[in-house]
Symmetry: C2
Subunit: 314 residues, 2 copies
Amino acid sequence: MADVKVVALAGGVGGAKLAEGLQQLLGSGLAVVGNVGDDFELWGLTICPDLDTLMYTLAGVANPQTGWGVAGDTFAALEMLARYGEETWFRLGDRDLATHVLRTAWLRQGLRLTEVTARLADALGVQARLLPVTDAPVRTRVITDEGELNFQDYFVRRRWQPVVREVRFAGAEQARPTPEVLEALEAADAVVICPSNPFVSVEPILAVGDVRARLRHLGKPVVAVTPIVAGEAVKGPTAKLFREFGEEPSALAVARRYADFVTAFVLDERDAHLAPAVEALGVRVAVTDTLMRSAEDRRRVARAALQATQTEVV
Amino acid sequence: MADVKVVALAGGVGGAKLAEGLQQLLGSGLAVVGNVGDDFELWGLTICPDLDTLMYTLAGVANPQTGWGVAGDTFAALEMLARYGEETWFRLGDRDLATHVLRTAWLRQGLRLTEVTARLADALGVQARLLPVTDAPVRTRVITDEGELNFQDYFVRRRWQPVVREVRFAGAEQARPTPEVLEALEAADAVVICPSNPFVSVEPILAVGDVRARLRHLGKPVVAVTPIVAGEAVKGPTAKLFREFGEEPSALAVARRYADFVTAFVLDERDAHLAPAVEALGVRVAVTDTLMRSAEDRRRVARAALQATQTEVV
């Protein structure tokens, strides 16, 4: 097990749970490639919500109630910003603010986001390697019936209520995956697509340069764990987005979006009846209880995902 | 009284108390010109310790124990920064951090420090006009037996323990007072030099462009309130600095440093015996209890200072 190397692609809260389960099994053998499409600037600070959720979760300091932010964080700075007349829909905790202040300072000193992320994660004791998919700016833009919104406007301020017509990843085509991501993919025995939102968490990773094509031609097991259980998203707007794009939300619909590059797919046991249809896509299927409430759940689902890749880790 | 216009020059904690007393008497008739020589950058944030102490004090939100920082502030962000391996000798509270984040963002947007300071102070309900003496960078450098230190290194990190040989105000000569400061001086009926440290609080204001010469030729009453009582500083290194410069610390020694531009000087009642020596400098003398423990003390000392200028405010 010590020598097994796995790359996990993950967005925010749901993906972070599985990444943490994988870290329990693989320790420093895990590299987590994070989405940067939801990064944004607020008060001149560079905020990376998905990377931060991954980092705090992998460090064991994430807020267990929300899944994002730091456990026990306070909001004194935000209250003061409100007093100065600023909008406070982005719930920036005091401890979390320290992360953004330091990240921004280091980026301004010329460090790459990859280096900054490694420094922060190391300091918090994260065992896995946490890698932004790219150091270049990629910004998820959500085209809605209320116009084009940047991702945090859509997701946090408008609580994903506007009807979405299209999602775009500005800058993704010109962006290149980092050398660290390419090395991790080369060294990997298997790749795991965490149960994140396909539209706004996983696909902005795949859209960076040739990442999707690389996975397609990797020649190694690539397994995705479903973010949809019994037609509903465990968290967030995944099912809603499927409906807005005119498709029935289901694990099968997710498998179809990934069919060109995954070799295996983990269905929830509530969706076992979908196995033949997923297998018909040419994808090996594993079935398990994919809900992750406890640390043990995370480890269990992580093990099921790795078993589906036929990677020996137990 | 409503029409009386006064300009106060002030540094940090001691000066801020008298400024607040003057604000009690004069409201928006008061313009407070603040020192910017102790400004510095930390984690990419522009921090203005003296302006902030003035702002928080004038807004009634200053920490009453320390005189600096915000009352009831917490230090969650700083603890997180420590976890990231950062030095935390500058005690940055969470609410205070919000001030620096917003100031830095607005400065980066191209606002002048004067505009930023006005916005922040207005939001906190400050009645007086709070004016940085200049929008240009001025940095107090302290030449010590341990080498040249920037001001916060000397004052906070080293707790003013190194022996000082010289104090320099980098950038002061080239800097110009702002149009707002010049207008306030022109409109003023009188000027008050608050009981701040002459070497590191008042003189970096006087050193900006021609400010000292302007005061000398203002043709209006200029009164200083002593920061030294019975040979000791009420707070901070004023007396220590006099000794390091080979001079006996006393209110008389302060009066000598200001004699070229003040028309009146307020001695503490414990130093009444110095009155003839101060008068011999050609400076009118008033004597009062200058210690400010309560809001009433501040108003009382403010009134004494204005009476010494023969400005009618009572």
